[in-house]
């Protein structure tokens, strides 16, 4: 199965990258961009076919490695 994980910064945590992208878009003449936030997107190919197990497993991976729980949130989709 495939797991898709989104890792984003928690609210209120400064996002220097997002800020810089927003600024760069402005200089390239793109108007009306009020905010930009950058996160990570991770795709995992899992050998299991048990959706619940996959979900629990990926949850563990996020907590242990993929996300930095001090400043980041994660969300998981399994398919």
């Amino acid at each position: 199965m495939k797991a898709r994980v989104h890792i984003t910064l928690k609210n209120g945590v400064l996002d220097p990258q997002g800020k810089a992208i927003q600024h760069a878009l402005g200089s390239l003449g793109f108007d009306g961009v009020d905010d930009v936030r950058q996160g990570k997107y991770i795709e995992l190919d899992l050998s299991t076919t048990d959706k619940a197990a996959a979900e629990a497993n990926v949850e563990e991976m996020c907590k242990k490695l993929l996300a930095n729980m001090v400043i980041e949130n994660y969300s998981i989709e399994i398919e």
Binding site: G12, V13, L14, D15, P16, K19, A20, H23, N68, V70, I71
Partner: protein, 740 residues
Amino acid sequence: MTEIIWENNPEITEDLVKEHGLSEDEHQLMIKILGRTPTLTELGIFSVMWSEHCSYKSSKLHLKTLPTKAPWVIHGPGENAGVIDIGDNQAAIFKMESHNHPSYIEPYQGAATGVGGILRDVFTMGARPIANMNALRFGSPEHHKTRHLLSGVVEGIGGYGNCVGVPTVGGETNFHPSYDGNILVNAMAVGLADQDKIFLSAAAGVGNPVIYVGSKTGRDGIHGATMASAEFTEDSEEKRPTVQVGDPFTEKLLIEACIELMSTDMVVAIQDMGAAGLTSSSVEMASGGGVGFTINLDEVPQREEGMTPYEMMLSESQERMLVVLKPDRVEEAKKIFVKWDLDFAVIGEITDTGNLTLNWQGKTVADIPTQPLADNSPEYDRPWVKTVAPDTIDPASVAAPSDLGEALLKMVGSANMSSRAWIWEQYDHQVMADTIQLPGGDAAVVRVHDTDKALAISTDCTPRYVYADPFEGGKQAVAETWRNVTAVGATPMAITDCLNFGNPERPDIMGQFVGAIDGLREACTVLDYPVISGNVSLYNETNGTGIHPTPAIGGVGLLKDSSKMVTIAPKNDGDILVLVGETKGHIGCTQYLDIIEGREEGAPPPVDLEIEKRNGDFVRAQIQNGSVTACHDISDGGLFIALAEMAMASGKGMEIALNNGDVPLHAYGFGEDQARYIISLPADKLGEINSAADKAGVIIETIGVMQGNSLDIKDAMTISVEELLGAHDAWMPSYMSTES
């Protein structure tokens, strides 16, 4: 008096005061200063200003006793960083600071923002930063968090320093279980300025505009300063205060913009927003200049909606500065910040009231006399008990190892003595193209751009010595930086210190602090090596267990002619190796005793400062007159380790015969007697050096010659340099590539 608006203001209860870390006495003093009950914003301001971190309330009394003056000291403690004269109207500006607690919670960002903060302390004075250093202590390598913390801290330091383009040229790294729950991340920055272009923080000129520049203010690290002043418990990890995220890109722009601004004559005063952000910067600038500030908080650039005055004043968002400009120069200054794409806002002006007056949404939310806030901050004479120094261990009582060569290999490949290349290769240590002594030597050396001069920098402390005997350990920390700076041929000029200790409310910990300060004072005095800046970090404890007392010292020296610099690597076969200083085989508190015998015991080696000075001055003179081809001081691990390090650095072997008399060879070779160096020289210089040593009253002895491919020590070992390198280089990469 201004009418203080109470709307939206909670009642200032005793609990609320307590939560802000203020004692009852401090609460009463605050009421006395204000002449009334504080508003919430005012309570927040008092609490951070009177926190241990900002007020030095437990340490002030003792810090005052440190020597801070010398003819070459331009500004000592009291400014953002210390300043020394390095000739030709140039000045070196430096300081070291801790970022321990944030780095434990989030190692990458904690360490990164530590670097950012110390850089601002240096460039706020008008300096271009030219070198970063760090002093790091982690828990035991076996502790389950150590790898994660080490990798995060190193990446964070590199991530920030590399991006801003200031070379990270050296540092020190120890592992010890006492840091398991409380690592130490101390960062030092060194900058260069012209002496007639040094900027201070004292504000002046009623009516002058107060300008905010840099990044916007968010809700980051609110209460960082009070956190840095509180002991850790298991659940402070859970509370996870909003972590400050560093933005090195903005910092780089801020450095360039500030340097551009300071090249004009527009600036009256300038101050970075460090711990306690807008609060400490505005209070320090106002009280320092004996003036008042009126600030309109609505003008503060804000990253988030709905921020309260309390939040704005306590936010520790990074990459911000406060500037007082001359009148009518606002537009001109603004152009510079617009060019560098930074926020720029006029947020207030200088008044003659002496008060910090904060307005927000048409109301006054705080009105505090700054002089009493700054000057009447609490000062404690905390009770302390002297640390009882352990007995000296008789070298003859420690059995010899079965194989000295194996012992040496084990030591060069141990956690605490192995190569740190894994760390420094993650730091850009050559950007600016002036690094002329790379990491791995005794001191880092960076050229003063476009001159023949260079600065030598070293950070040092041996916490196990300080723990055993704070006074001797304190002396030793200073002496070791002095020795390291000397060993490259530089003249030691001054130090910065970062004093990391446990809970000062415990008399035994306070005793460590007082003892270490006494040691620092004595060493600085005898070595003519004043303290020009520093930082105190207390409450480094977890669940009541304190760290080893760690007064990290950053020493800086000057090489007037950088072509005279030497490294630890002898270059030529046939060079003679000479041991400088007396070897008695001091075995207590040594790396040998710890690594080979598993004992952390005994008195640390005593430091005779007179001998230290005599030997160091002798070695430096020989380097400066060109007699010496390489030099290495002897510290952790003793003579054998120093020889091995020289052999590894040069890739060449040596043949050594020691005259150990009745000292057992293992104690002679691994003992950590102080004030010693190994120098290498061409054979034809030997006569000259011998007579110079005689004249100076310095004990020296020829111990061998550079030759072959092995470290060959008579009656002790023959080990190929390759094998030494294998063990030395392997530990950290292999440790870091295994998962915990």
